[in-house]
């Protein structure tokens, strides 16, 4: 016996549960999967915390099922929390006044990120209001265009639009109002589906017109007023608010990419984000790459068991272009950020 055997023998007693004992957990998994499929079939998408692994940590344990249900019924409840703010000039973050930068042929990751930080700091500073929406347009693999309007303070109903079978599907993302999110359970005419307590294995979309329920929630911000503007403060901030494991380059880099793709980050905040990332060892540069939409770029690359991924920057302006991930078979995923802006209404184009 070695010490590992001893530790194993002294492991806390915990039995392997039977399928009956695990049936509640299985029910929850199966129901959420069924709802996900139903949502997809009906064109109502789960909130981005459901869709994006990078932001999954933002939701509380136990909130996943609730969040999915909230999204499914969002179309029914599309509310009007919006006030009527005065029109503002919608600023675009990454595509404005690209100023070409002359750089040497060889760059380190730190230098690329420093150029990106310097470029960010030249952009105009526009602070969004709580009642506005962050608009993003991204292109996914296969040229699929997805647009989203996320509530700045997370309390208004957001919106996503993406093509499904050749048609644009709109999905409402319910806001969290006064710490509560209201939605309907599966059912018809306010009543639950008969046998609805059993796992839902429907072959067609589940009707989502059951009883109205309210659950506690925490607003998901699309703009972070307290995000620091110095690299030194960025690590603790990401750890605290995003749950980033700072010693995990894959976790850190993808979180940064996800935030840039879907949230509104002020120029000084973005510069600090790049400069903090630049201090992380392990990043390399791929000088000539293309983003998902085919635009040429410079990749800031990291590797994780057998795969690699990169955040891509414009080779002339150092604007953020998006992220790609690679497996042995080549590029396996990613998204190209086309535009970020702040608008007054969900659905409004900048």
């Amino acid at each position: 016996m070695n010490d590992l055997d001893l530790i194993r023998e002294c492991a806390p007693e915990a039995p392997l549960l039977s399928s009956v004992e695990l049936s509640d957990a299985r029910h929850r998994v199966q129901t959420t999967i069924a709802r996900s499929r139903a949502a997809s079939a009906s064109g109502v998408r789960p909130p981005r915390a459901e869709l994006r692994t990078g932001t999954a940590r933002r939701i509380a344990i136990g909130g996943v099922t609730v969040a999915a249900a909230a999204a499914i019924t969002a179309g029914v409840l599309a509310g009007t929390h919006r006030t009527t703010p005065a029109p503002v000039t919608a600023p675009t973050m990454h595509r404005t006044t690209p100023a070409p930068v002359t750089v040497p042929a060889t760059l380190t990751a730190r230098e690329v990120l420093e150029h990106a930080a310097a470029a960010a700091l030249k952009e105009p500073v526009v602070v969004p209001r709580d009642d506005q929406f962050v608009y993003t347009k991204v292109v996914g693999p296969g040229g699929v265009v997805e647009q989203s309007w996320l509530s700045v303070d997370g309390t208004r109903n957001g919106l996503t639009e993406s093509p499904v079978n050749g048609k644009v599907q709109k999905s409402v993302l319910l806001g969290c109002v006064n710490g509560e999110r209201t939605y309907r359970l599966p059912g018809i005419n306010g009543k639950p589906i008969k046998g609805g307590h059993k796992p839902i294995i429907a072959k067609k979309p589940v009707p989502m017109d059951g009883p109205l329920v309210t659950t506690p929630c925490t607003p998901e911000l699309a703009f972070f007023p307290d995000m620091p503007t110095t690299a030194a403060a960025m690590g603790p901030y990401l750890e605290r608010t995003q749950g980033v494991r700072l010693n995990d380059l894959n976790d850190l880099s993808k979180t940064v990419g996800f935030m840039l793709e879907s949230d509104y980050i002020l120029p000084a905040q973005r510069a600090a984000l790049y400069r903090f990332l630049a201090t992380t060892p392990g990043l390399t540069v791929d000088r000539h790459v293309r983003d998902v939409s085919g635009r040429p770029g410079i990749g800031v690359v990291w590797r994780f068991y057998g795969s690699k991924a990169m955040n891509i920057f414009d080779p002339r302006t150092f604007a953020y272009l998006g992220m790609t991930t690679w497996g042995e078979q080549g590029q396996v995923g990613g998204a190209a950020l086309v535009q970020t802006a702040v608008v007054d209404r969900a659905g409004e184009l900048p």
Partner: protein, 196 residues
């Protein structure tokens, strides 16, 4: 392989078009993932987190590396990440295991004292030692000792190089030994170790 003859990678791939297929992964792996969670954060939290583990996995399935036919290390990694968000529960489990305390020691009869150190005492002292480890080191140690994952599997689970697995394991084992040194359990512990 599952009942349909598909390995995990094939099930995950199939679930991208037919999401319901993913549930079969639960049937195969949930008892082990639940046991691991229960050992670390207690039964109550484990009941919630086992479902959470599979829901996170479902969301991440498009990124599953199909070269690996067994998804269990991947699921352990997701569960470990969730445990990291439940440090309070894990700390509570360690506290509960330490409340029994070691058996009283008769210093003038060291030999007898060693025999008196019961398995419960060793468990108590080990809990204390494990609680004192840095989380990344503890993750590696427990995945190897409790769950019997290989170095490669732990590397996959935690998304770290195998060399890092080795160094964390070495550091964890050294600290556990140091924590037990000089305690009543030390004699028994050393006897067990030399009695292979």
């Amino acid at each position: 392989m599952n009942r349909l003859g598909l390995d995990d990678a094939a099930v995950i791939e199939a679930s991208r078009a037919e999401p319901d297929r993913f549930a079969s992964l639960f049937d195969r792996h949930a008892p082990y993932i639940h046991r691991y969670l229960a050992r670390r954060v207690g039964r109550q939290a484990a009941d919630d987190l086992v479902a959470e583990t599979f829901l996170v996995a479902f969301r991440k399935r498009a990124r599953y590396d199909p070269r690996f036919s067994d998804a269990r290390p991947w699921l352990y990694g997701i569960a470990t990440n969730l445990i990291a968000q439940h440090r309070r529960e894990e700390a509570r489990q360690f506290r509960l295991r330490q409340t029994a305390g070691p058996e009283p020691v008769q210093h003038d009869h060291a030999e007898r004292a060693a025999q008196d150190v019961t398995a419960q005492s060793i468990r108590t002292l080990l809990a204390s030692a494990l609680a004192g480890l840095a989380r990344p080191d503890r993750d590696v140690l427990l995945l190897i000792a409790w769950e019997q994952l290989s170095y490669d599997e732990v590397a996959r689970a935690l998304n770290i190089p195998v060399g890092t697995v080795r160094s964390r394991l070495h550091r964890a084992r050294t600290k556990v030994r140091e924590s037990l040194a000089g305690t009543p359990a030390a004699v028994t512990y050393e006897e067990i170790l030399t009695n292979e």
